[in-house]
Symmetry: C2
């Protein structure tokens, strides 16, 4: 994991200097002080990330990591594993929710096969595709570690490479989505381990399962944790009860932060990767914006653990990066405020000094 | 007000037919059922508004109505009335928050002078501008009605014309913003009258005032209501304690609903106009999406009164249509889902029927 640790060392806290410069500029813009509320905080953070008072908002990139999960054979999902490869085909042909929402957000989409079990139809693709399967799915975590040390390193490296590519392409903001039948089960086990929470509290309905399947899923999470007892070591948790796509996201998260790229968080599975990144590297959170909160019970607990307030809450529980895609627009709008608004001086509008004089005169 | 009442009669409840057709289509798209949460409800409502399952999201238009308020002479704002004309100049030259956020939202901006007191510099404008001042500001509502019957009709007609123009131009979604020093005082008085609430509960800090000015503002709202006692007659409230820009928004709201155009609500002042529209014409709310919730205490109460859940909550309290601009993206994303996603059949992805078979087989 030397490459990961090298990136971790390169993640700087964003510091107060640029944030204060951004706040000073926000105070000069033609609007009452702090009247754009949280949008101004986002703007200032974007400025500090990019070390400028005129942050870029383009290009935007959404990278969807796909992989299968051995644990799916326990019957924890409403869908069979075959759906992972089918949905990757759908991403590549532009017909999935993330394609529609990424286009609406003005973001490029890149799909990364990190370990899909089935055949992927990559003919006539309309989006970027990277095929780097670590293995045709993880091992069943109820019977031992989901992956080997070597496989974990491979998966993390995929994410680090994705971050390097984004930096090379000048990406201003990045989001990571995921697709993998069974991956909310992995995310539940990871969340239980990180938060030291009972399986029943962090295991939800995923893409939609009945009560019987839900009870089985909770049992599977419990058994995976007993079989692996990863304690609180972030990489041990990721390796034993995580997934290739979750590891790749963790790598991409740390790598993007090391490159000072703003990161938009997604749902429950992607946020399991944020638990890894934040535990290994606390300043990572300076670069990561919690995009939305899903109805998965574990997602709210993850965000509490990370002390992050989500930007949006629409009851979305699809993954793929869809929540992040919607939230990206908020960051873009914050950047627009910094770049496009006039100052009181330049617009010839009376500022608060004159207003104060007026108030004294009138009252 | 015959023109207003004619529009009111033309506002149809959106009905369940198209909503059900949209929901049926949403169920065929390549995602677990209802996994996009509230975004799917928004999509279905957009479909019902436009009577299609492939709703348009363009063009989008944000109309900012500006006017001055006689009550500003009571010293209720942090800014002098002169700022209204200066900010209109800023809108026209593209330097205000609404310009930046409208561009980010892919929306056209149109500025309408409905009664600004000062001189507007309309040279070298970068956005559409309509000059139709009813009068150089309303009268001081603490001393009598803010406007005459005739002035109210003129202001409503401006909004109805704006809606007609939007329909002619095929606008898919519209938002109304406002600018007018003193207009949160008018909105507070209107809200107190509609909700039968004490002035102190619906009167906030507006663009940012100190405690002394806030106390004076509450007193001004009280005195305006005592001087005018408009009871609960919507048009009497609008006329006696409203404003030209608020009346124009009420007209535009009703007119847009009559033309089946989706409407994105903004902050406290614009929502005062929604109180008028919804009281006169309950089906109006089928067309109006509560864009955001501002920290103005009266805004939360207005939304409760209207039984609407805001899309966003970022502590924005600027007006101008800025909250609506940010929320417009959510509607656009919902439309993209309907227009751009593949169905399970067309994408060759296993749907829930096969999934159910799989579950039975595995467990």
């Amino acid at each position: 994991m030397s490459r990961l640790h090298e990136s971790i060392r390169r993640v700087d806290p964003i510091g107060v200097g640029w944030r204060e410069r951004a706040e000073a500029r926000l105070g000069q813009l033609t609007k009452p002080v702090r009247s754009l509320g949280r949008l101004e905080e986002i703007a200032a953070r974007l400025c500090a990330i990019q070390q400028t008072v005129t942050p870029r908002a383009m290009p935007r990139r959404i990278v969807v990591f796909a992989a299968d999960h051995g644990v799916a054979e326990e019957g924890v999902s409403a869908y069979p594993s075959a759906v992972t490869a089918q949905m990757v085909g759908n991403f590549l042909h532009g017909g999935a929710a993330i394609n529609a929402l990424a286009r609406a957000a003005g973001a490029e989409v890149c799909i990364v096969d990190t370990g899909v079990a089935g055949m992927i139809d990559a003919s006539a693709t309309t989006v970027a595709f990277v095929s780097r399967p670590v293995r045709g799915g993880t091992r069943n975590m109820t019977k031992g570690p989901a992956m080997s040390e070597d496989e974990l390193r491979c998966a993390l490296d995929i994410g680090l490479d994705v971050a390097d590519d984004a930096a090379r392409d000048g990406v201003a903001m990045i989001a990571c989505g995921e697709m993998g039948i069974g991956n909310t089960t992995a995310a539940s086990a990871m969340t239980a381990a990180f938060l030291d929470a009972p399986a029943g509290e962090v295991t939800g309905a995923g893409t939609g399962i009945d009560a019987e399947t839900h009870a089985r899923k909770i049992d599977v999470v419990r058994r995976a944790l007993i079989a692996n007892h990863p304690r609180r070591d972030p990489l041990a948790i990721l390796r034993t009860v995580g997934g290739f796509e979750i590891a790749a996201i963790a790598g991409a998260y740390v790598g993007a932060a090391a490159h000072r790229i703003a990161i938009v968080g997604d749902g429950f599975v992607a946020t399991a990767a944020a638990l890894v990144a934040a535990s290994l590297c606390p300043p990572f959170l300076d670069y990561w914006f919690a995009g939305h909160r899903s109805p998965e019970p574990g997602h709210a607990l993850q965000l509490l653990f990370l002390r992050q307030q989500p930007l949006l809450e629409f009851g979305m529980r699809l993954g793929e990066g869809t929540g992040a895609a919607l939230a990206m627009h908020v960051l873009a709008a914050a950047a627009a405020v910094m770049n496009e608004m006039a100052t009181f001086d330049s617009a010839g509008v009376a500022g608060r000094g004159e207003a104060a004089a007026y108030m004294v005169g009138e009252s």
